[in-house]
Symmetry: C3
Subunit: 258 residues, 3 copies
């Protein structure tokens, strides 16, 4: 049974997500019915980087063969291409505007196909989610070969902060709890990190810090995160996404937090 | 396999949507299991017109026979009727308070049935979503004949701005992106529209306007929409829902935007 | 077919809910596929009491044997236990921090098992939703016996206002509409209630009050609720959760509302 996930910035007050689900239900046939899964619909409007991180961290939990539609598409109807991306045994469908930056970067043998084939008969220039991406997912779920969508292409969508270099990380996501999530992996993090001029030793759990205290730890994505116990790190530290987080030497004489 | 969609103003912080899903899971039996689809739950509380537009534009993408439950029901427990509506081969379940105004208007041979039959044994006066509408949808999904719900009735629910007249449109919806969506169809729109004293020529895509500029175009519902590229039209133009959008003559001597 | 519901404070902008769904899809096998149901994801961050009420009122609508995962877990990675709770023929999975307080209290013969068995090979200290609770639900859905998770324990998670005493209620939940929901059951409510110094007679429907007027009635949970018709009770009465709502004598000489 095919699984299709949906990640959009459409919110849950309009009918856009509903229309996409309707198209999939209509096109994908009644047997086997694809399971349609809401991944996240409150991506901030037009926030490509936010979507890129959410998609990269959540979709790899799904089984091989699963299909992941991403519609955060401020340039819809314009020059950016529509693509199907293969990465880590999963299919990704959406615009080539950066939403697949992490997926492709981490995917090893990832490749992309320009989608010139799968679409509705009439395509609205402002709603490719309904008229291009949903039909593409439905086609793949129905057994169509995604590699017949078009020619192989290089993804050109990029995030503002570009690919990561070794031994350096960046704040790549700020989550609902105000946690600052970086792409600095555990293997390169050492025992402490420097973010916005603060040296923070890595701890194991939230409870190792006092309430209200800043802490750094290896988060659920396997990378360094910054939090405030029972608080919000994004209100304590003035850092935007893209800001560096780098390994630091702890200075025992000064104590763990300074 | 039956499909049931849910559109409510219950939000996603309370248990009301969950209770409705529980009732459907409990009543609709285990085979064939109906697929329950979240259409939209963040309809602004009590905003009947908002729900009416979302339902009309999203549900027609679903297959014939699909069942669409709408619970935006500020008069719950009062005098408004509970109805089952048939329109365009689909079933609609909810209160007769205007939420089905567009569905019925566009449905051609649409008809409504007062629902006097399908309901829980004990009905809370404040939660017909759980005790009337969810059981009704479950019954239809289980093969009960919706026309046995009661007698045929005329829908009395109306929106503040009434049915549309030819060659004139109204702002009927403002979406998450701040786009102003009208019910003026493409066939009557001509080459430019007049909204709030602004004459806007119709363009093809967002990218035909400069960032920050107002633009008009045929939106995904096949009607005129007003947007600001990389911005919000609802912050640029002071118009409420119900405001007129009418075809206009362009004046080439003054240029496309004035 | 197994049903798994998810209740979290993860919101719908991050990938956390998506990751949990991916784990369930991956672990629960393809036949029979469990149906995963979003119960509520916008529980205010860390608000255990809010989750406890939502879960208690919504999950009892689901069929016996359904599995309910609750991840509102500010102490994740710390000392609180992970538990599986059996109540009213349903399974509950989550932290023992109070989220199951109402479920256990109302469950009669409810019991809890410390979950020492079901979990991912590597468990992130900050995301037990993905690494402990989702795998546990998937295991139960796949036919594993929940009572093999570990030893029976007493739940220690409590809410600030403790268990209810007879003939007295507390405001236990404030919903999206600003309604104040109490745990004072219909059988003990009498004909009027006293809340924040206001004596309010119980009415049958919203329409029995004038627009803008405070009213008390038996809500959909079978307990007393306070609302303002076409308004918000939480803006009219300054009461926090935990505040008492008790039966009152009406004084006909003073009229129903004073």
């Amino acid at each position: 049974m095919a699984i299709i996930t949906l990640t959009t910035d459409f919110g849950t007050a309009d009918g856009y997500v509903g229309a996409m689900k309707g198209v999939i239900a209509r096109l994908a046939g009644s047997f086997p019915v694809p399971v349609v899964v809401d991944l996240a619909h409150d991506i901030p409007p037009g926030d490509i980087a936010h979507a890129a991180w959410v998609v990269a961290t959540a979709t790899t939990e799904f089984p091989h063969g699963s299909i992941h539609v991403v519609v955060v598409d401020p340039g819809v109807g314009g020059a950016r291409r529509e693509v199907v991306v293969r990465a880590r045994g999963r299919w990704y469908v959406g615009p080539d505007n950066g939403v697949f930056a992490y997926v492709a970067e981490r995917g090893g043998d990832a490749y992309a196909i320009e989608n010139e084939r799968f679409r509705a008969e009439r395509v609205s220039p402002t709603f490719h989610g309904r008229d291009v991406f949903a039909p593409t997912a439905a086609a793949i779920a129905s057994g169509e070969d995604p590699t017949t969508a078009g020619r192989k292409v290089e993804l050109v969508g990029r995030l503002a902060w570009g690919p990561r270099e070794r031994d350096t990380g960046r704040v790549v996501h700020i989550d609902r709890f105000g946690n600052l999530i970086s792409d600095l992996p555990e293997a390169e993090a050492g025992r402490a990190v420097d973010v916005a001029g603060q040296i923070l030793p890595l701890v194991g759990t939230y409870e190792e810090a006092a309430p209200g205290q800043l802490l750094a730890y290896i988060g659920s994505a396997g990378t360094v995160e910054i939090a405030v116990r029972d608080g919000r790190a994004d209100r304590r530290l003035t850092v935007a996404r893209g800001a560096p987080i780098v390994p630091a030497q702890t200075d025992p004489a000064r104590g763990p937090y300074r």
